[in-house]
Symmetry: C2
Subunit: 235 residues, 2 copies
């Protein structure tokens, strides 16, 4: 009998923001997998670390992080094979995912390769979106307002068009795109409505006005939330 593949959201960073369900499955599954950089530690594993019992088989799904090399399809083929072997042998595999597995998560590449052949369950997690809003103390959207989630790497014209068209916007993965995003926000006259947050829910969480951000140091895990004061959530 085949094992079950689990995609487990482990939340945005604070180990206490894991769900009871993810915790139960981590404790029960004999095999734990998680995304990791070429070299170095896995953030997803670090988030779940206090909850991982000894004695698990662990698979670090190491992928190259150089721009253009991601997603590395041959790398995912390899790890899908390794995970598939465990499943075929009847062992459940829990894949840890930062935030939520299906919102900007790399779990989709394993899901695409394995869900057709093996029973697969996805456990949603707390996303960085809610964590950033909580860190900034900013209710994002209410009732009939629209929210756009926009990646910082988009080109400047597309960023501007999307921010202009929405009541509330979350610009994700700001990092080295900070200056570009800020130019757009300034041009649209939204600086007073914008909030910068880095490492939401983690020990080094910071929420700052845009003009206090050291632009050279904005990390990959940073976000800018824009909530127009004219929107109801701003009342």
């Amino acid at each position: 009998m085949s094992g079950t593949l689990y995609g487990l959201g482990v939340g945005p960073g604070d180990p206490e923001l894991i769900t009871l369900k993810a915790l139960r499955i981590i404790e029960a599954a004999p095999v734990i997998a998680y995304p990791a950089p070429d070299k170095g530690d896995s953030l997803a594993r670090a988030i779940a670390e206090p909850h991982i019992p000894d004695g698990k088989t662990e698979i670090a799904v190491r992928t190259p992080m150089v721009p253009g090399a991601f997603p590395a399809h041959d790398v995912y083929d390899h790890y899908a094979g390794e995970i598939g072997d465990h499943l075929s042998a009847g062992r459940d595999v829990a894949v840890l995912c930062e935030g939520d597995p299906f919102l900007y998560g790399s779990f989709m590449y394993l899901f695409a390769r394995l869900a057709g052949e093996h029973e697969t369950k996805v456990v949603p997690g707390v996303s960085s979106l809610g964590a950033c809003a909580a860190a900034a103390g900013v209710p994002l959207v209410s009732r009939n307002e629209t929210l756009s989630i926009v990646p910082g790497p988009l080109d400047e014209a597309e960023l501007e068009a999307r921010i202009k068209a929405s009541t509330a916007v979350a610009v994700m993965k700001v990092g080295r795109h900070f200056d570009k995003v800020r130019r757009v926000i300034d041009r649209l006259g939204l600086s007073a409505d914008a909030h910068y947050i880095e490492h939401a829910s983690m020990a080094d969480q910071r929420a700052l006005p845009l003009d206090q951000v050291d632009t050279a140091k904005a990390p990959y895990f940073s976000m800018i939330l824009i909530r127009r004061e004219s929107g109801e959530a701003g009342q």
Copy 2:
């Protein structure tokens, strides 16, 4: 010394999708509050029910659900007063919120009235967005794709413009707006890319193709996810 006001995300419906942090705070706080309809039960309380110890002081924040009457500012003024009295007396108050407190949650109305005077902490929760994607088995967005969250009550032209402009869309609160939303999706040729989900993560969760939905029965807590197959998350 004033107590602390907590806005606690209790997740989308499955009581096991509550976080360890929300659970700890529910267990410790002497006063629990939650939104509720005029008459009848609170969904947020029902989600957290297995985790609420006996002996708490409970406040049902009852608001009229008739269209046009919400948000009822005098009602929120009243409950903010009641909660504020507990805080001023040094008692922590945990406000239970379906999903995430700052994503389409009514907690913002209490937050606006109380956060200026009392220490306030917001604990993010699993939103219905991730729960719906998990229920449908649909990775929503990857890498540099844009996601729009659009309320079903919007008028038809605005819905169409917003859906047309995005790679991935979540239409929330579909319910009695199902026929309108479906017309828009058909017109844009996106029917094959659309997934209907109701009561995500709850015991009566259902995920269906649009043409199998009984339109007269779509509940308020229903969502349509649209992920273009041309988007990378569809590969």
